[in-house]
Amino acid sequence: MSRQDHIREFAAQALADGRVDYFIGWKQGYNSSEVVPAFVKDPADVDQLIWTPLCHHNLVTFIKRNMPDPADAKIGLCVKGCDSRTLVALLQEELVDKEKLYVVGVPCDGIVDRRKLEKEFADELVDIAFPERGRVVVTTGKGETREFAQDDVLLDVCGRCRYPNALYADDVAGPLEAEPDREESGPDWSDIADFENLSDDEKQAALERVYATCIRCFACVHVCPVCVCWDKCVNRSREPELVAQKVGAKENLLFQMIHMFHVAGRCTSCGACDRACPVEIPLYLLHRKMNKEIYDMFGFEPGTKLDEKPVFQLFDLATDHFGD
């Protein structure tokens, strides 16, 4: 039984039992090159649910945005390993009610970065097929077809994945993926090394360049699964006005820093913001750096253990020696 079949079966069962009011998964978008989130309420509709290496959406985003309204809805959803960390982060703070959730963990061997594929072609993509594990076959509107090795076109976050299996799930869609030895090696931060090695002036120039393009569409914060501000985001507040509404490199960068500090200790570097950005700002530069420093300061990986609290909402007299 494929993982997709498992998901459909779990969803159908949960809906039929009344365990959930609706089930969130993934379905095909406007063509077979694209995947979009699916909200299924009728057991008869579970056949639209799919599982492919294009299912990048972190569905946890939808439960944080819908809770606590409707307050009594029971929700089922699929989580990949990375998604599950954001769910754990929400559970750590009791921002979602465990009792009202039904979580299907989907072991994942890497999500394909559609943007990377787009850049390979001048034409629009109409179909992305996965004839077998590891193979990706892309067809364009003009009929051009090329094959890629899945590992070559993965999302960058997947290349550094330490949690291929869900850390929190009620049911698991098929056999687990092989786990890396996390004791042996800590997180891999090599992706930000280039930026870290720039001089101060170079960093400033780079940030100016990159953040000048931000259009303040707020897609990054909307899609962020751990941002709890919902529609009350202080970025849009005029009193107090932490950041001006003017769209300029300084303001945009400050806006991102606000978001960053508000998810500090809770951001799992899931990359949702990065993927949502329509102007392709490498938002990971800040978030990954923040997580690297938090790991360095506390040995803390956000969203990995249910019984932990985010590190900026507590202190530890025995181990905190900052500034001594």
Binding site: D152, L154, Q204, R209, Y211, L254, M260, V311, F315
Partner: protein, 177 residues
């Protein structure tokens, strides 16, 4: 697995490539990012925003004043009840608005008037400090420390050292943050 063809790596390369050029030629290049080199804002006196807690460091600055401990005149203090009340974003806001340096000071660990405020604050400030360096703001431009109400001399020393460090870099303008 994160090889050179990936989007993020591309971004990084774009970023790094741009700045390699920008870092050497700055605003005049036109094509590259238009950011002035740090400290390239002429010879006006540097202006430093200080955020201090009411009970320890503000009072420590008072003690320094009462003891006539002379200090450089570049610091402007904002009084808050506790360092725990200091949002790291205040410092970033100050840099955005053109501060040449930001100094935050509160009660020594264990001495917080509210018991725990500085314990939360120090975690945030440590992260802030590390991120500020990541943003390309030289480390000499930001400092957080502890000065108690009785440490007038220490306050003088902290201010004098910090201002000297910022003055060495000079005033900043036209920077991304």
């Amino acid at each position: 697995m994160a090889d050179q063809t990936t989007t993020q790596a591309n971004d990084a390369a774009v970023v790094a490539g741009d700045t390699a050029a920008a870092g050497t030629i700055d605003a005049a290049s036109g094509a590259g990012a238009a950011v002035a080199a740090d400290g390239a804002a002429g010879d006006r006196p540097v202006k430093i925003v200080g955020i201090v807690c009411n009970w320890c460091s503000y009072a420590g600055a008072d003690t320094a004043g009462t003891g006539r401990f002379k200090q450089p005149p570049n610091l402007r203090l904002i009084r808050v009840p506790c360092t725990g009340r200091v949002d790291p974003l205040f410092a970033l806001k100050a840099f955005e608005k053109g501060a040449d340096g930001v100094l935050i000071s509160g009660c020594h660990p264990g001495d917080c008037h509210y018991s725990e405020g500085n314990y939360y604050a120090r975690r945030k400030f440590e992260l802030l400090e590390r991120m500020i360096h990541h943003l390309g703001i030289p480390k000499e431009r930001f400092r957080w420390t502890w000065v108690s109400a009785s440490e007038g001399q220490r306050w003088q020393q902290v201010v004098t050292e910090f201002v000297a460090g910022v003055e060495k870099l000079g005033p900043r303008e036209g920077r991304a943050l």
